[in-house]
């Protein structure tokens, strides 16, 4: 699989999981929350300072449809994470060519064309 195609497929999977799959997630408390409740410290939790964010609890404020509300928040989150993490990785990466040639030797159809 060519590199660019691989990237595109990976992104689509992430978008589908966050945008569509998340609707079917279990609504049960997670392990920590459950244990906190059972052992008596859940009440200590306080609302986050970000709890009035327009994306709080993975729900976009002002969207009526439940599926869309959560899916949109998931898609926006994925894109935000992709931009920040990808940008960060791009900024600190090793520059230049040297091992590019040596390590992509096994790629059947890798295009040497520089992306950006």
């Amino acid at each position: 699989m060519r590199t660019r195609r691989f990237y595109v497929v990976a992104l689509l999977v992430a978008l589908l999981v966050a945008g569509v799959g998340s609707y079917y997630a279990s609504a049960h408390p997670d392990g920590l929350e459950y244990v906190a409740e059972k052992t008596g410290f859940l009440h200590a939790a306080e609302d986050s300072a970000a709890s009035d964010s327009p994306l709080a609890d993975y729900q976009v404020v002002g969207v009526d449809d439940a599926r869309l509300r959560g899916g949109l928040a998931g898609v926006l989150g994925v894109l935000l994470v992709l931009l920040i993490a990808g940008g960060l990785a791009w900024a600190v990466r090793r520059r230049g060519r040297p091992d590019e040639a040596e390590r992509s030797a096994d790629e059947p159809v890798e295009d040497p064309a520089k992306r950006r």
Binding site: V13, H28, G31, S48, G77, V81, L88, R93, D106
Partner: protein, 230 residues
């Protein structure tokens, strides 16, 4: 296991914040050795996938659920230092935009979900790789076992932090037993997802899997040169 605000007292939260900041600063310097023109986009995609996967809580019985943490998965795919950066970005976006995990607890969450699962996952993975045959086929199973271990490890560290700086007096032994018990179960889900995802990437593009790099070098060059680090 996103920790909300006020589970831990201020001194403990500040301490975990300092540890998290130190770990991220170190990771920023070390990740350079793991990232090049081809793997940098992978880092963005792995972070995006971990964010997406963390939205999918799977039931683990008796009214409880869990989701992927992703430290072991990210470490095997893009390398441990880059994985810390990926998870830190995921947790930052979750904490600041989604109100998932507290804001003052951000350092705690980066330590638990970003650093502990990555470090434990990577060490277990490397340990297994060292004793298993040098074949691509072992990469995904080794990643799965590493993922399984990484989740209860984070649960143990949370329990320790709560024993030191918890805002509610509890029976530490009870918290430890419950945390480890449930997180072993959640760890099984973590292992399944990690094994499947790493297996899929190894199958189509093994050269993009950090934890399989040494095997690829062997396969393509046949001759092992000195000085190539694993």
């Amino acid at each position: 296991m996103h920790v909300p605000d006020a589970f831990l007292d201020a001194p403990t939260s500040i301490a975990t914040g300092v540890v998290a900041a130190g770990a991220v600063a170190l990771a920023l310097r070390r990740a350079r050795t793991e990232l090049d023109d081809r793997t940098a986009p992978m880092a963005g995609l792995v972070a995006a996938f971990v964010f997406a996967a963390q939205m999918i809580n799977f039931p683990v019985g008796a009214g409880t659920s869990g989701h992927l943490m992703g430290g072991a998965l990210a470490a095997v795919l893009v390398g441990p230092w880059t994985a810390v950066l990926c998870l830190a970005v995921v947790l930052l976006v979750q904490g600041l935009f989604m109100a998932d995990g507290g804001v003052t607890a951000l350092g705690t969450n980066i330590v638990l979900i970003g650093v502990v699962t990555t470090a434990v996952g990577w060490l277990v993975f490397r340990g297994l790789r060292a004793v298993l045959p040098r074949r691509l086929g072992v990469v995904a199973p080794a990643a799965a076992v590493a993922a399984l271990v990484s989740v209860p490890a984070a649960a143990v560290v949370f329990t320790a932090l709560f024993a030191v700086g918890g805002t509610v007096p509890v029976e530490n032994g009870d918290v430890l037993a419950a945390m480890v018990g449930w997180h072993v179960l959640i760890g099984i889900g973590e292992a399944v997802v990690t094994g499947l995802v790493v297996g899929a990437v190894v199958k189509v593009r093994p050269d993009l899997v950090h934890g399989a790099r040494d095997l690829i070098a062997e396969r393509t060059l046949e001759i092992r040169t000195t000085g190539t680090s694993a």
